[in-house]
Symmetry: C2
Subunit: 221 residues, 2 copies
């Protein structure tokens, strides 16, 4: 009977995380970059991604580009309305209210977990200003698998960079509740790694520090 044939195999042949890591030749983990807007999270994350690639390490970078923009996991209500009804879009679409940002980070944490369990180095580059939200992402994964990376650049430095012109718009009163200005940023209490992104170090050097950290803790060789 087909019934028995199917059931015989049920959950017997699952590939373990350790199997996948052995195939890849490195461990999976979550590299959680946090810091002010324009501190350099995405820039450094992209450089780490490149360096890991050159080392033959599988990685992924989750940021606003592939999760907030367009039709993606954390799209806005406006975007969701192009495919779903209004009540649906208003409930599940995410803006920038406190509740919406909490859900944005929650979903990202869950996705990062899935990637890490697939044996991949999952990097996330979001301001993620609240310790409680980062801690919720941390407890999703195994001890030692969550690497909180504080991209530490002073507000003045971030504001002087202002690559997207956001600080300028905040100062002009066009944006409210902006982290570091009129919304708080809670610096990590016990980050695994602090990158001095306000110093003279290049983004390349800071990315290299991340790679060295991964090597030191045995995630990559």
């Amino acid at each position: 009977m087909a019934k028995e044939k199917v059931e015989v195999f049920y959950h017997e042949h699952s590939v373990s995380r350790e199997d996948r890591e052995k195939l890849n030749g490195h461990k999976g983990c979550v590299l959680w970059f946090t810091g002010l807007s324009a501190s350099g999270k995405s820039t450094i994350g992209n450089l780490v991604d490149k360096k890991l690639y050159e080392l033959g390490v599988r990685s992924v970078l989750l940021d606003g580009d592939n999760t907030r923009h367009g039709l993606n996991l954390n799209s806005s209500p406006q975007i969701l309305k192009t495919e779903h009804d209004e009540a649906f879009a208003d409930r599940f679409g995410l803006g920038f209210s406190a509740q919406d940002r909490e859900e944005n980070i929650r979903r990202i944490g869950c996705v990062a977990k899935l990637f890490s369990e697939a044996g991949i180095v999952a990097m996330t580059a979001f301001i993620s200003p609240y310790q409680v939200d980062r801690d919720r992402a941390r407890i999703l994964v195994r001890e030692g698998d969550f690497i909180e990376v504080f991209v530490d650049a002073p507000l003045e430095v971030c504001e002087s960079r202002d690559p997207k012109g956001l600080y300028r718009r905040v100062r002009a009163g066009e944006i409210k509740h902006f982290t570091g200005i009129d919304d708080p940023y809670e610096a990590p209490k016990r980050p695994e790694l602090v990158l001095d992104a306000g110093s003279d170090k290049t983004a390349e050097e800071l990315a290299q520090e991340v790679v060295e950290y991964l090597r030191a803790v045995g995630k990559i060789s």
Copy 2:
């Protein structure tokens, strides 16, 4: 200045999807299994996962175990309440209403897209009864990257298997809106692959058909 140093590298060094696929030696794609409860989606998906692993192909299987249960992407309101406030949990937690199921599939489609873009074979094993929901997941990815796999087993066969005792509970009136009984299942209109899961073929044989398909369309070699 640190400002310039950081900006110089901004988005210049991104690793492309093609780079990742070259590293992996295979393409990324989405294998979307759809079918009635107990048709064999997860069982076959797990076997495909195993076979791909043995071929050195990176894959991931998204199913209820790693997305619905526990603290995960599509947790219930009850579970979310252990970490978040009630209003948050009620808004974002997912049950089995039509709207909640639509969002369940939407989030899964977005996650599968992220995996496929990382050069991984992303498999999803959800009933996903509505064509419109599957089509929405399809349009997220590149043409040819969405492989809809209809796990085709007659209701009678599924009900006779009933590994989780769900059909029994439905017939006892304990579960309402169950796909195939008092909720519709829309068979795929133009699936890339149909698996005859009500026949005498074993789950192993059906999984092999999926692997052969991936080879035939050039996703793996």
